[in-house]
Amino acid sequence: MWSLSDEALLAGLGSQEPESSAAFVRRFQGRVYGLTFTILGEPQAAEEAAQETFVRAWRHAEAYDARRGAVSTWLLTIARNVAIDMVRVRRPEAMDPELILATDRPQDEGGSLEEAMRVRDALRELPDEQRRAIVLAVFYGRTAREIGEMDGVPIGTVKTRIRSAMFKLRDKLKVNDD
């Protein structure tokens, strides 16, 4: 069970196989709850969102396509969407986006620690205004208009910041369409 791939555990979750389901939850609960807590900033809401994330993963396990990305990113995307829907209802104002990168070293039990550090380092290298815009967009789902209103800058300026940040990150992290 402990050496099974993420894909195999997800398939087990989809069929409600007890050991696979438990192993899947335990493998990813830290990342999922960490993301929902980062977005929502409150333990109870974060747990509710994390729980809903695993429920949706179970419901849509058959829809996962390995060609489109890793199980972890698929799952975190679900978590992000669940949490953003909740934050819009419960917490109209966003948390401090710099808190995302405040931890010196993400604590990770799995093998993606090195990748997480690469992404965090790349984000830190962005100019402050670009980093703020991209973090607000990625983790809080804020539109360019909303970011502009929050920061008192024209929407066109925010769009440029987001675009510049994404292009820099694409080059830095060497994301390819393989």
């Binding site: 939850v25 990113t73 975190l76 604590q107 965090r120 369409d177």
Partner: protein, 225 residues
């Protein structure tokens, strides 16, 4: 319908792939990439990037019992898992402990550190283990009430022996970085003095194991901080 150039679409792509674009912008992009392979590839790259940025978020263990609540919400009976673990872990733990104790006569007989070390290595090699440790389990008054065994291997596991008392305890492990990891719920009675489970934490990283229940807290110091 206005035709959008590749340059226009590449300008739209970041917001669309981040999920923050308007419906019109999204429709414009999708309409273009339906017939433009280079832009389709570019959008795929940014989509991948948008998803991968999420792993930058810090990792936090959820509250104790989260796993059980999730499994119950998707219709998996968590008791099945606890039953499987409670049956399998004592067997695995007992096998290792028996292997260690089997050599104890030789250990004391020779009183050779080198011999003890060799027996320890042979035992670990049996199951490709890396490390095995034991710590006294103490009550709030400092009295010794049991033992915590910690094994680093595939899988890694913790096994708790409670010499007296009964009840259900919530078991957690604290790591060197100060993180508290939920381990599981342990039940003891006069006929069941041992409980174990696999853990997804590096055993080397565990400082203490705590059992909380019945108004008391039992602590085993596995490694000094």
């Amino acid at each position: 319908m206005t035709e959008h150039s590749c340059e226009d679409v590449r300008a739209l792509a970041p917001e669309v792939t981040l999920g923050i674009a308007s419906g019109e912008e999204r429709a414009a992009l999708l309409g273009h990439i339906a017939t433009c392979e280079p832009c389709r590839g570019f959008v795929r790259e940014l989509s991948t990037l948008s998803d991968e940025l999420l792993i930058a978020a810090p990792v936090h263990e959820p509250p104790v019992g989260f796993e059980t609540r999730v499994l119950e919400s998707i219709g998996v009976d968590a008791r099945i898992i606890r039953s499987l673990r409670s049956r399998l872990m004592p067997l695995a733990a007992a096998a290792l402990i028996a292997a260690l104790l089997a050599g104890s006569g030789v250990w004391f007989g020779t009183r050779s550190d080198r011999r003890i070390g060799e027996l320890y290595r042979q035992t670990l090699a049996t199951a490709n283990g890396e490390y095995f440790s034991a710590a006294k389990l103490e009550g709030s008054g400092g009295d010794e009430v049991g033992v915590v065994f910690a094994y680093q291997g595939e899988p890694s596991w913790l096994f708790v022996v409670l010499r007296e008392g009964s009840g259900t305890y919530t078991v957690t492990a604290e790591t060197r970085s100060g993180r508290t990891v939920a381990v599981g719920d342990a039940a003891f009675d006069d006929e069941k003095r041992g409980w174990g489970t696999d853990v997804m934490v590096d055993v080397h990283d565990i400082t203490t194991v705590q059992l909380v229940g019945g108004g008391e807290t039992l602590v085993g110091v596995v490694h000094e901080k």
